[in-house]
Amino acid sequence: MALNGIQIFKLTPKKNCKECGCPTCMAFSMKVAQGAMKIEQCPHMSDEALASLSEATAPPMKTIKIGTGDGEFTLGGETVLFRHEKTFVSKPRYAVALCTCMDDATVEAKLAEIPKVDYDRIGERMYAELVYVNCGEGADAAKYTALVEKAAGLGRTLVLDCKDPEIAKAALAVCKDSKPVLNGADASNYEAMNAVATEAGVVLGVSGKDLNELYDTTAALEKLGNKNLVLDTTGADIKETFANTVQVRRAALKDQDRTFGYPSIVNLVKIARGDLHLQAALASMFTMKYGSIIVMEQMTYAEALPLYGLRQNVYTDPQKPMKVEPGIYPLNGADENSVVVTTVDFALTYFVVSGELERSGVPLNLVINDAGGLSVLTSWAAGKFSGNSISSYIKENVEPKVKSRKLIIPGKVAVLKGDLEAKLPGWEIIVGPREAVQLVKFLKDLQADGQI
């Protein structure tokens, strides 16, 4: 439960000693309540007060780390249910599922398929970060461990789905150093699974037949001292899974129920087996609403392109605009003689403009310089997309590489034409349309006229 400044003030020594840097204890308490200072910065707090405060000011949802090195991911740690309230912090991670019930050829095909999707989108690497290894019915320790070893060969962080403590122990023996998740505790086996997971030092996944059982098992594990958990909210069907996942997150963040303050695992293979388009729809839905690890049958480019784009959008900080890297982006097979087009580095503008430019089929060099991540008019008004900034970027970076001396500027900054002509001798400045949707016709007309 977040405390307000007055409640914190009651626990301070009220000496106004100023040692924390604040003029009064009241001022200090207000800053702590806002999160601007930490309670430990007061040297005179009693231990009891500190203990009760750190409990009360602890975040409602734990931050859980899985994997190691490049494969280390942070899950949870969210503070809000809707991104506009502050921001979401830990992206959901996608897992492709393997199972002992698959034949060798299927497993090999999956293992060959997974690394194929690996690309960069606005500075972020997009790939299936996790591999989910399911221990199917009847599999023994040797069979499961063999599959886990194969999966580990990919170098992706693993999530082991195994409810048998002995088999889990054997599997962890071959992969525990890479810090996988062991998803296997339930009401019937949580003590044994807890011992296996704590001994191996890995995160333990908890499930239950309904929310009450999940809650009780989680509380029991916490009592055993294990707070390194994720909650498998997958239910019997899609409806139950969605209800579980939303209610667990909501109980933690809105109702401050810390027992449910853990990241989630949503297994789409269980609730939409074999229906890839439905899995695609659900992956999108659980990316929006509260999945932390989302398990799917496959991750090809068809799923990845929209899904990773969506995740990147939803997990941007509302206070920081998405920016693309400054540079020259040749489109439609452009070479050094192709016309130059410029716009701002605001990701939304870039995507809309580059999409239309590609649709036109006209070869051109799209030049992006640093305009502060703002839209055309905003960055122009802020002086970040000006005659000076455009011309100096063109002189330094474009002139050495591109021979064309024709530059198309956005119609909304037509006023820059004269300024640019003065600052870029030898260049012909062409004013483009005001809206991106008019670009295709505009470029085709220019091409038909022989102007570009």
Partner: protein, 314 residues
């Protein structure tokens, strides 16, 4: 100690709007929870799916699957019949993209003939989308509203620049449902609803299109705008934001390069058909998760998949 389940009950709800006339109607809105939170309170109406056809026929369609579905339909009327019969379809959406002055620039009379042909061919609920050009729509959509009198169609859409012409014709003169389109901003959405009702249009006969984007293309604005609109409508009982939301998905998703780039150009991306379907499916699912009460789609497999998702969650 079992889980202390706390339900989130609101004393407000989204307006219900019924589109269509006679036996075949479709009703959207009515819920008093966040989308698909049926554990808080039972859902009154599950979200609905419209199938989009164009006055341009299949001319601008790249997807082989969509073309194959309409194979054998030689007129727009026959296409409309097939669209209405698509598995998972609740209504038909006719987009008059050929009217765009920057494109083919069909005349209003020509387009009205198309509208009439579609309306005569089907009795399914109908949504008519303009060409997106504000001047042309201001001329075209009032004529559409007039031509379809008695059919109780949804006219998409009036914007800030042309709401007087379209809102008055659709909402007052010809008693249709007014689609109010704004650009992904809660304040603009509310403002348009306010001025439209000030014209005298019944608030219960307005459906919002709050703007849309394909997944990955600034979609965060769509999410936050819808989250905030649903929040204001339910928790603050803001009756100028309680109109149900319709989102045309396909017009956005089938234009982005993830859907259009051919496999020849991007061999590692695989078949464009699958990419197009998943872009449509995932964007639609995200729209529904954020708060759309209806989505407009094109591909039969996308319509079927989203229909399965809605059934599973409702």
């Amino acid at each position: 100690m079992p889980f202390n389940q706390k339900l989130q009950k609101f004393n407000a709800k989204i307006n219900t709007v019924t589109i269509g006339s006679g036996d075949k109607t479709v009703t959207i809105g009515g819920d008093s929870t966040y989308p698909f939170y049926s554990f808080d309170a039972p859902s009154e109406n599950a979200p609905k799916i419209g199938v989009e056809i164009s006055d341009m026929g299949l001319e601008n369609i790249v997807s082989e699957g969509i073309k194959a579905y309409y194979d054998g339909a030689s007129t727009i009327g026959e296409m409309a019949k097939k669209a209405a019969a698509m598995e998972g379809a609740d209504f038909v959406a006719l987009i008059l993209e050929g009217g765009d002055p920057n494109g083919v620039n069909k005349s209003v009379d020509e387009l009205i003939a198309v509208v009439k042909e579609v309306a005569d061919a089907i009795d399914a609920p109908l949504v008519v989308e303009g060409c997106k050009n504000v001047e042309k729509d201001a001329e075209l959509l009032p004529k559409v509203a007039e031509a379809l009198q008695g059919r109780n169609v949804l006219i998409l859409s009036e914007k800030e620049e042309n709401y007087k012409a379209i809102g008055a014709a659709a909402g007052l003169a010809y008693d249709q449902i007014v689609g109010a389109e704004s650009a992904v901003d809660i304040n603009l959405a509310k403002q348009l609803n306010v001025v439209t009702t000030q014209l005298g249009v019944n608030a219960q006969k307005i459906v919002m299109n709050i703007g849309s984007a394909a997944a990955g293309y600034g979609y965060e604005y769509v999410v936050s705008t819808m989250d905030r609109i649903k929040g204001a409508a339910l928790s603050q009982n803001d009756n100028m934001l309680q109109m149900p939301i319709i989102t045309p998905v396909s017009a956005e998703t089938w234009g982005v390069k993830e859907a259009t780039a051919s496999e020849k150009d991007m061999p590692e991306w695989g078949p464009e058909e699958e990419r197009g379907i998943d872009m449509e499916v995932m964007t639609a699912a995200a729209d529904l998760a954020a708060g759309s009460d209806a989505v407009i789609l094109r591909h039969p497999e996308a319509v079927a998949a989203i229909s399965r998702m809605i059934k599973a969650l409702a």
